[in-house]
Symmetry: C2
């Protein structure tokens, strides 16, 4: 075990940020250029732009379009070091972060931004047979499976129930809605442009949710709009239905109905159970999220900050409840943790964290999206889609990524017959 | 076992093209729009632009930049069908191509364009420990290994002999020269832009060849130029040395010297042994290539055409010898087979195949390449590099690919700190 941080002993306070997602990047950015020695650790050498993973899964974008090397992001920040490795433990007693390769990083402050994992909430068979969509690896595996399934349907339609595959998406939140919409577009391109011999009338995309409407975080008109648009595009939207069992060849619904499925996409939510945050040994709330105080630190450990999906981030000092597990919360809580560390090192007090809801949006497909900003009317249709497009491009890290994504979308918009529909790999490396 | 081709019995002659590389595409293109029913089969759903694989391996390009879906290439050709599958056997007696999924495709003519595989030529340990660079999967695995090695060198320099990794490239042909040059550029970007803490002075790239000069297919001045440029960029070029043994941690040279190596890249040539072509049961020549007549068909089987790397393609009717295993031969022989099939079906005679050498080129790195066109003086330096760039862009399939490749290269030229240095996966799916 070797103690290290920034290349040796240093007079500067050491901050270890665990996780290179939205929250970890925001915390590191807030600390960049300040008199602290920051090490950001991730098991992948890249940041993933999670809101667009469904596009990678449905062959609209390439992995490199939504991923960006963490080293490159902080390449010009002399006080930030990237460390490629998997954290196995945060030792609160000795203030060390332990890595799988046997190293240990001592810290004065640690920011846990380790995210969540797909939450299967005890549905039998879901962990084994459903395909989550939370990591870049998930997206690539799902894509390869979808494309290989379409090729199999071309060559051997008789091997599918009803002569064509059915794709089931579980979960009517933004990820589920976006995936179902993009799946229909993938089928359309496959038949029309690539001349796959599958019967579009028999090939089904089913979107399931237990709630009685889609996008429950939005207002009801937005929900109805999304539902109408998806149905108009051919998605079989089923509301108020639970999933009883997921098997290799389909889904059993709570009412006993059997849906054969060539793929079950799990957009049913996330949980912190089973992740590094769950091993801290401190109090945990709903979905396994680590309970933190108004300053986003763990009780009794003002040097341990938990942000983003991993933490039960409060909405604010005078508001009851916990923030949702969305990108905006991750960015705001990460940035807050960075600022709070600088304040604590200076002996300054900071105001409690407060989530500022900047609005939510979801795209349903080409020229169709809903956007909802507080105190403003719901935007939908082409205008909503353009708002969604602009915002995602602005937030996408890296000029190259923005350009290639824009390029891809322009292609798709004009319906050019190109696009990255490659079946290239099916396993992610674990460093 | 089901007989199928283009969706059922048809009056049109059936041509099956096995392989979606340069040769298979050229044959299919020659048959497009003619009264034949063409099925092109490949185990991958994409064509790979092999000349640029070394760029994927050294993180200069993304897999999607050098790969293009076969379906999309022939999306507007009604007489061409793509079939995703692995061919296990060509049955010359019953004129069927058998697939791993149990199907069989009957043919009137078959074009075998199955390429080659890395040739290890009996060097002990090479097949197990050296890393070839012939398929997209090879390139991605090599890239992930190189990037992960650099990360390990940053975190644990003490784990490497001499405190830094050594990379060995075996083979001084175009692939070896290009890979060695690109490796030096990757190291440079990693240290200068990504601030990896590895010592550039200790990190070695060694290029080995048994011959006494690099690029033996070029004239001697081109060889010397390449050697000088590589040395000036820091590559340790060792000529006249054979490899006795490849192990997990290095290479033993024929003279007994031990070179520790974090990666051994195998650019030592290709062989047809172990590939589908080797199972035909007909006569085979050097490197296992299938012996063909002046019309590129197998003796006694005028309906069986073997083209590209898989065939011992003659140089021409009055020239002794076999064509080299390069893209130009694949393209020309594939196109010839397509034309020859049309002629045979019409009862027309065709002239024997003749290879037209349009010249060879190899890049050494930024602004440096050699190009040699018959009857012209050797072009080198920036002009050679621009010629190389232009020619590769012209041959690259698909507008999107060309644009993103150009984008990436412009980036690199101006030394912007972006680029697809992602460690994303380490295994390719086999359908």
């Amino acid at each position: 075990m070797t103690g290290e941080s920034g290349g040796g002993p240093t007079a500067l306070p050491r901050v270890v940020v665990v996780g290179g997602g939205f929250a970890g990047l925001a915390a590191t950015r807030a600390l960049s250029g300040h008199p602290v020695d920051v090490t950001i650790v991730d098991q992948h050498n890249f940041h993933t732009f999670q809101p667009l993973l469904y596009q990678v899964a449905t062959a609209g974008l390439e992995p490199a379009d939504v991923a960006y090397p963490v080293r490159t992001i902080f390449g010009r920040e002399p006080n930030v070091t990237f460390r490629h490795g998997r954290v196995t433990k945060v030792d609160l007693d000795s203030s060390h972060v332990q890595l799988a390769d046997g190293s240990a990083l001592p810290y004065d402050h640690v920011v846990l931004a380790t995210g969540a994992a797909a939450g299967f909430f005890g549905v039998p068979g879901a962990a084994e047979h459903a395909r989550p969509l939370y990591t870049l690896g998930d997206a690539r595996r799902l894509r390869n499976h979808l494309l290989a399934t379409l090729e199999a349907a071309d060559a051997h339609p008789e091997r599918f129930d009803g002569g064509a595959p059915t794709f089931v998406v579980v979960g009517g939140g933004p990820t589920g809605v976006e995936t179902a919409g993009a799946l229909v577009e993938l089928l359309d391109v496959s038949v029309r442009r690539d001349r796959l011999r599958i019967d579009p009338a028999r090939t089904r995309v089913v979107l399931l949710d237990m709630a009685d409407r889609l996008l429950t975080a939005f207002d009801e008109r937005a929900s109805r709009y999304a539902e109408d648009m998806l149905r108009a595009r051919g998605v079989d939207v089923r509301l108020g239905v639970g999933v009883a069992d997921v098997r290799a060849d389909g889904v059993e619904l709570a009412d006993g109905e059997w849906l054969p499925a060539a793929a079950v996409v799990w957009a049913g939510g996330v949980s912190v159970d089973g992740t590094l945050a769950a091993t801290l040994g401190t109090a945990r709330g709903r979905g396994g999220r680590v309970v933190v105080g108004p300053d986003l630190t763990v009780a009794g450990h003002p040097e341990v900050h938990v942000v983003g999906d991993a933490g039960a981030v409060p909405l604010g000092p005078e508001v009851e409840g916990t923030s949702p597990q969305v990108a905006q919360v991750a960015i705001q809580s990460g940035r807050y943790a960075g600022q709070q560390i600088l304040a604590a090192l200076d002996g300054r007090a900071v105001a409690p964290f407060r989530y500022r809801d900047k609005g939510i949006m979801a795209t349903i497909g080409r020229r169709s999206a809903v956007a909802q900003v507080p105190h403003l009317p719901v935007v939908r249709g082409t205008l909503g889609w353009l708002a969604w497009l602009g915002l995602h491009l602005v937030y996408l890290i890296g000029f190259r990524n923005r350009l290639t994504v824009l390029l891809n979308w322009t292609w798709r918009y004009w319906d050019w017959p190109s696009g990255p529909r490659l079946i290239v790999a099916d396993a992610e490396s674990e460093p």
